[in-house]
Homo-oligomer: 228 residues x 2
């Protein structure tokens, strides 16, 4: 479903380049649960920005369902992302002036759902992540892990084809983290959602079908989890 | 050194109160390494805001070194905090327009160090957290875990009496997380720094002298770690 070929990303200037991704080639299959793991600064979020079309490669191609993302203009990319991808950002990126409900309902509204239905779906998924008692709180009235769960709920509300989760359990305690991993696994099994997470959380290991280990911007190795 | 007596914090409105902290009484001794653990939303960050004087209790008192924080006005509190406390925020709170060096040097400049010395000390501690190769990057040019480490370095640069770390390893891989925990433990042993961390990271358990477990805004139990 997702195909990266020779993907490279260079930041910085001519005189001081940062090779964030170096010639990454990897294929992610429809319906699989794949985890990206590796040291801080190794390129996981950068790779996510390429897959989610939030940034463009310096070289190489990213294809999703046969569509070459590099061929889409910004408007087409935004539309494509809205229709197919649920993105959980490492820094959550919630709208500060919106309540939890409004933040989560937004993607549903963008996808064309009428306001009442969008809100009902937002409530349902917020309850699934344990925030049924915080629906009307704004981000600054929520704990770190609660903000993270609002970001997770927002990514799930449209039941998208692909969920990209950048460190989705980073600020969650053991029990809540396991509940979220369990929830993602259920989306994968029941709806055939393709789940890609960048994570430092080793609890993610037994739920993943495969693990791609990243080091210094390059793929270090790929593990099938039944061999672990 | 730090004494909380009957600390309570209520958010929200009269009609819809949120009891974030309920009658918390706990003492933290000079030079100890204490970890605060508990579910997402249980009150850890709120408790930190009370200890660090970033917010005021609804009831109860917070004393540091015999000083009742509630008696200080905002200016006195800011001065007190700048002199004695290094604070690692759950959301980092870095200055976006400043480089890593400038972000970390800021507390040193506020404490009266001349610019050259402040910069030299900032570089030294940034190298200690593994960011010697990212000194001139601004926050948006850094990975999540790198931003977290800049926040950590900034809390350490003045070698303060107390370090308050709110989820200091939340976005770090296993190895980097262990290095940071090791670094904090060294500050504790070598300089007698009092370290208080709010954390979900069970790697923190063996380094801590005591663990305070929080649940629904109240102290659930206190554990001495050699009994674990
Ligand atoms: N400004 C506010 N208004 C209303 N409720 C608030 C406000 N700030 C925090 N809360 C609530 O207070 C409770 C405690 O929040 P706190 O941030 O201390 O939790 P925490 O233990 O740090 O959680 P986490 O592990 O997720 O970071 C949460 O349930 C949160 O929703
Ligand atoms: N805009 C930028 N300019 C320069 N360098 C950058 C920029 N953005 C990221 N980098 C660098 O690219 C590298 C990869 O960053 P990335 O955010 O992908 O890491 P990561 O694997 O997600 O790390 P973490 O686990 O800490 O979140 C890092 O070393 C970072 O410093
Ligand atoms: Mg990242
Ligand atoms: Mg918190």
């Amino acid at each position: 479903l997702i195909k990266l070929t020779g993907v490279s990303k260079v930041y910085g200037s001519e005189s001081n380049p940062v090779y964030a991704l170096r010639d990454v080639t990897v294929e992610i299959f429809k319906g699989e649960y794949l985890s990206l793991m590796g040291p801080s600064g190794s390129g996981k979020s950068t790779l996510f920005n390429m897959i989610g079309g939030l940034d463009r490669c310096t070289a190489g191609t990213v294809e999703i369902g046969g569509v070459n993302l590099g061929r889409l203009n910004d408007a087409e990319m935004a539309y494509f992302r809205g229709r197919h991808i649920g993105y959980i950002f490492q820094a959550y990126n919630l709208i500060p002036s919106y309540t939890a409900i409004k933040n989560v309902a937004l993607p549903a509204l963008f996808a064309g759902a009428p306001p009442k239905e969008a809100e009902a779906r937002a409530v349902a998924v917020l309850e699934k992540v344990g925030l049924g008692h915080r629906l009307t709180h704004r981000p600054q009235e929520l704990s770190g892990g609660q903000q993270q769960r609002v970001a997770i709920a927002r990514a799930l509300v449209n039941n998208p084809t692909i969920i990209l989760g950048d460190e989705p359990t980073g600020n969650l305690d053991l029990k809540t983290g396991e509940e979220i991993i369990e929830l993602l696994a259920r989306f994968c099994k029941e709806f055939g959602t393709t789940i890609v997470t960048a994570t430092h959380d080793h609890k993610m290991l037994k739920t993943s079908d495969r693990i791609v280990w990243i080091k210094d911007g390059a793929v270090d190795r790929v593990e099938e989890t039944h061999t672990l």
